[in-house]
């Protein structure tokens, strides 16, 4: 299994949220309900030296996912690309995955009482297509693929996003 993940280039992101909209659209999610990709925007400093940081995040597809460990219904698995999949048909909506996830990724679906999260566009992957978020980004701020390839693509400038769960995300331009 070659672990897939995302490259998030914070130098390039302008916070346009096309990735959020593309994701909602691909997942046929209604406005107001779960939003599987969210761009977190934070400001620091004072005018005119303000720094704006944007981090587009869906699921970290961790190598050692906390969600999978705690799920009492065995509803979470990793597929052949290492993507962490929450299976709707097995989910009992207990929220344990949300509590365990260091990033607060899984969201509750009111309409059927299950949790939902990014599946790295599983169907698009089988068709050789980029995830909807990556496909739509004008700025080249998002890439998806085998993590080692993403690191190579970034010529070593990408840094892994750190956490005990080993998130499968590398970033460029990220400052802690």
């Amino acid at each position: 299994m070659t672990q897939w993940g995302f490259l998030v280039d914070e130098r390039k992101c302008t916070g346009c949220k096309a990735c959020e909209v593309a994701c909602k659209q691909r997942n046929k999610l209604e406005p107001g309900g779960p939003r599987l990709r969210r761009v977190q925007v934070t400001e620091s400093g004072e005018f005119p030296d303000t720094k704006v940081v944007r981090f587009s995040m869906s699921c970290m597809h961790c190598a050692d996912p906390a969600c999978m460990k705690v799920c009492p219904a065995n509803a979470i698995t990793k597929d052949e690309d290492g993507a962490v999949i929450a299976h709707r048909d097995k989910c009992i909506g207990c929220h344990y995955c949300f509590f365990a996830c260091p990033f607060g990724v899984p969201q509750y679906r009111e309409d059927d009482g299950t949790m939902i999260k990014c599946d790295l566009c599983a169907d698009r992957r089988t068709m050789g297509l980029d995830p909807a978020c990556v496909h739509t980004c004008f700025y080249g701020a998002l890439k998806a693929g085998p993590l080692n390839e993403l690191s190579e693509m970034s010529q070593g400038t990408a840094q892994p996003f750190t956490s005990d769960t080993q998130p499968s995300v590398v970033t460029i331009g990220h400052e802690d």
Binding site: R11, K12, T14, G15, C16, K17, A18, E20, V21, A22, K24, Q25, R26, P31, G32, R35, V39, E43, S44, G45, E46, F47, P48, T50, K51, V52, D123, R124, T126, M127, G128, L129, D130, A132, H135, T136, C137, F138, Y139, G140
Partner: protein
């Protein structure tokens, strides 16, 4: 509408000849029934969706059983598969529960969000045509305004269709204020003779790029991704951003210079001051290629960084840093955007003066003649003096309009120019509009809302044809006509190197009709009611919108033009010379522009392009500025501005205050009076940073009935899209006793916006407020209704700029104009808790 100047080496017509891209191949070779998502077909549709960034992007509509089951960017379009958030919300808009599904009639009073009841198409057409006939018979055909107004239609077929209607029936345009960019060209054309916009690859050669009042990182996602951003990330260009707030582009900049709205010309002269006093100017260049340097220098010497810092709120040391950097880094380019020209007003030249003063820096430092230097002007229409130019709008408009003639005579003269039509709309002088048929959003986008409200309330009938009804339709329409979305009709959208074209992906939804069909029905019904005794075809020669598009893109003239390019060895034009509309409409990359002349090789200010302006024929690459007077020199002193305006406009770039002056007697360096104006002293001490575009809205298309964005996904993604909000600097908020999430009133001399949600942000310059632009009618309540050059005599207003010269000119002698709506930024305000 702005430029999208792509490198032609990436033309997809060539790619199509070689075979589809990898992504396209995968899309059609998938797991279920041959197409992803079980689609029967994948149809490229031109995105005129969301908000028309101005570029031509192609989406893929995956269609199954006549419905769109998936939607995303088309990889073969020049957007290379990407869509911005507005574009990506396209399917949501197409399927929106708020779409106008059938004709409707208003049931409540005007001026508030509309309530409507369903009527039949027959009843709607009866009502509309009866009102038009009455207006024609009682008051003359000019009292009917027919066509787009203010908001761009996206699908340019509408504009041409409107032009045909107006020719047939002698209607007015009702176009109102005119393009927000149109006076941006006055300065550059005066100084340099043209308004060049960089080609995609030009910035790759720049060592330094200054974005002045230009937020391309947000407003031009494609240009940023493929051009400016690539220059920064891949080619090492240093970026400077000069802005009245920290915009998305400012965040990408190496150096950010804050500037009080409307004071860009002061800042430019301060930079000139530094360059001249430190001997950094390119004196050899100046001596050889410019006019009026001594007079310019005399002015510049008055604008020391220390004095200007007090005026523009830009730190003096930063002014020095950027001035030195610009003078000593070659090649360096300046991209001027629409941030500054909107601060001019009835009595202020601050708007157009920005471009005038800034462009003087270019010849001052000899930043001309090599790729990566010079000017890039953010504007919508090209071809001022033979530079990179847009699809030839004149020729393509004339293809359908030449096929019809007026169906009856009238003595009534049309309102002329942007000033004329505005006078008719707002002053009802010399006549007022009785019937107004539009898909635009005049009341949601012009200043002086009270005036717009009064104007629309006075009309007999207001008709809105659109897919989602914007504020103008909501507050003032009597009749709503349901229009097709871009996925349900033929779309033609011209740009620079190509026109985007697409065929419908699905049938019209609900009872929608495409706008051309709507126009056709109205035209034929009118002709019958006016007893003109004509057959349907004699009134409107095109049975369908497809026929109309074929008239534009498959007529003999354009086929000959395509063929000429083929004869020159440009094979990619060959398939288009056949005139097959089905082939043309299927090309995701669009139709290549046959009127351009090797854009990828173009470098401005070369003599070979201006032999009809006096440039020497024997030295084709000599430097030549196609300025007024035909001496080939850049004009620090442009005497023609004064003579053409009968003495009103200055020949030199003398900075001036915006419409609401901060100082008692205008420019304090010139007047000597540094006392603050009464307006400021009376508590209007915030400056509004108007027209600040957002990722979720530029031009108020797909604006919903409450004045906010039609897309609920965008409302969810952005706090400023969820309700009318302003941005305030936290220090100012503390001073006002206001917190994040409070409600405030923003009040100017011209009106006020109440109920504004407060968002605190350190991207806001202290003593400024970013009002809720793009929430109608909020923004329009703060600003006056104002057009540039109104101080000029009507007889000269439209003829300030020199005639167009260069290889694509027709050699005419007609002077032109650059006036348009201004004063949408820079007014002085009070901000207080509700």
């Amino acid at each position: 509408m702005s430029s999208s100047l792509l490198c032609t080496t990436a033309c997809s017509a060539d790619a199509a000849a070689e075979g589809a891209s990898d992504i396209t191949a995968n899309v059609t070779d998938a797991i279920s029934d041959g197409n992803p998502y079980g689609a029967d077909k994948i149809v490229p549709v031109i995105c005129t969706c969301g908000d028309v960034c101005g570029m031509v992007h192609t989406a893929n509509a995956y269609v199954k059983d006549g419905a769109i089951v998936y939607y995303e960017g088309n990889a073969d379009g020049n957007n290379a598969g990407h869509l911005c958030p507005r574009g990506m919300a396209g399917l949501e808009i197409i399927n929106s529960p708020n779409r106008i599904k059938y004709p409707m009639r208003r049931t409540n009073e005007k001026g508030v969000q509309g309530e409507f009841e369903r009527i039949s198409w027959d009843e709607a057409i009866e009502t509309v045509t009866d009102a038009i006939v009455t207006a024609i018979n009682e008051s003359g055909p000019r009292t009917v305004a027919f066509g787009t107004a203010s908001a761009h239609p996206g699908n340019q077929m509408l504009e041409v269709g409107g032009a045909v209607m107006r020719k047939l029936f002698n209607f007015d345009t009702g176009s109102g204020p005119g393009g927000c960019w149109n006076d941006l060209k006055i300065g550059p054309v005066a100084t340099l003779g043209d308004m060049y916009h960089a080609l995609e690859h030009d910035p790759f050669h720049s060592k330094l790029i200054i974005f002045w009042g230009d937020n391309s990182a947000m407003a031009k996602p494609q240009e940023w991704g493929a051009s400016w951003g690539e220059a920064k990330f891949e080619h090492g260009a240093k970026i400077v951003s000069i802005e009245s707030r920290i915009s998305e582009t400012s965040e990408k900049a190496d150096i950010y210079l804050p500037v009080r709205p409307g004071t860009d010309s002061y800042l430019a002269m301060a930079m000139a001051n530094v360059i001249i006093t430190e001997g950094l100017q390119d004196q050899e260049f100046i001596d050889k290629y410019t006019v009026g340097y001594e007079e310019f220098k005399e002015v510049a010497l008055r604008y020391t960084p220390e004095l200007v810092e007090q005026i523009t709120w830009t730190p003096a040391d930063k002014i020095r840093e950027v001035a030195r950097l610009y003078a000593t880094t070659k090649p360096a380019m300046i991209e001027i955007g629409r941030g500054g020209n909107q601060t001019g007003g009835k009595n202020s030249d601050a708007g157009w003066m920005m471009g005038r003063a800034v462009t003087c820096l270019i010849p001052l430092c000899g930043q001309v003649g090599v790729r990566g230097s010079g000017l890039s002007l953010e504007t919508s229409v090209g071809a001022f003096n033979g530079n990179i130019f847009h699809w030839n709008m004149g020729k393509t408009y004339s293809a359908p309009t030449n096929r019809v003639k007026p169906l009856f005579e009238t003595d009534q003269k049309a309102a002329s120019g942007v000033w004329g039509t505005s006078k008719v709309l707002y002053e009802r002088d010399p006549y007022g509009y009785r019937v107004f048929v539009t898909n635009g959003n005049v009341a949601g986008s012009t200043g002086d809302y009270a005036k717009a409200e009064a104007a629309f309330k006075q009309m007999d009938l207001v008709v809105m044809h659109n897919r989602i009804i914007n504020w103008t339709g909501s507050a003032f329409a009597d009749i709503l006509l349901p229009a097709c979305s871009w996925a349900e009709e033929y779309v033609w959208r011209p740009d620079w190197e190509y026109s985007g074209v697409s065929a419908p992906a699905i049938d019209p939804m609900f009872e929608c009709r495409n706008d051309l069909d709507i126009f056709r029905t109205i035209a034929i019904t009118l002709a019958n009611k006016l007893n003109l005794g004509l057959s349907d075809e004699e009134v409107w020669p095109w049975a369908t919108d497809k026929d109309f598009m074929a008239q534009i893109l498959c007529n003999d003239d354009i086929k000959a033009e395509f063929q000429k390019r083929v004869d020159e060895g440009k094979e990619k034009f060959a398939p288009f010379a056949e005139g097959d509309i089905d082939f043309i409409a299927s090309q995701a990359f669009g139709v290549p522009n046959p009127y351009y002349a090797g854009q990828e090789e173009f470098l401005p200010y070369q003599a070979k392009y201006y032999t009809n302006n006096g440039a020497p024929a024997d030295d084709p690459e000599a430097l030549w500025f196609p300025t007024d007077g035909g001496n080939g020199k850049a004009l620090f002193k442009a005497d023609f501005l004064t003579t053409a305006s009968n003495g009103v406009l200055p020949a030199l770039p003398i900075p001036c205050e915006p419409q609401d002056s901060y100082y008692a007697e205008g420019n304090p360096i010139e007047s000597g009076n540094w006392e603050l104006s009464d307006t400021v002293k009376n508590g209007y001490d915030f400056v509004a940073v108007g027209k600040a575009h957002q990722h979720w809205q530029f031009l108020s298309f797909n604006q919903d009935m409450d004045g906010g964005p039609g897309s609920r996904l965008l409302r969810e993604a952005f706090e400023t899209a969820s309700m009318p909000s302003c941005l305030l600097n936290p220090a100012d908020a503390e001073r006002l006793g206001v917190e994040d999430g409070d409600t405030v009133t923003i009040e100017s001399l011209y009106g006020k916006i109440e109920g504004v949600n407060v968002i605190l942000s350190q991207t806001v310059m202290p003593k400024t407020v970013v009002p809720p632009a793009h929430w109608a009618p909020a923004q329009t309540k703060l600003y006056p209704y104002s057009l540039s050059l109104e101080r000029l005599d009507p007889s000269v207003r439209g003829a300030v700029l020199p005639p167009v010269v260069g290889p694509f000119s027709d050699g005419g002698t007609k002077r032109t104009s650059g006036g348009a709506q201004n004063c949408q930024s820079g007014v002085l305000c009070k901000v207080y808790k509700a």
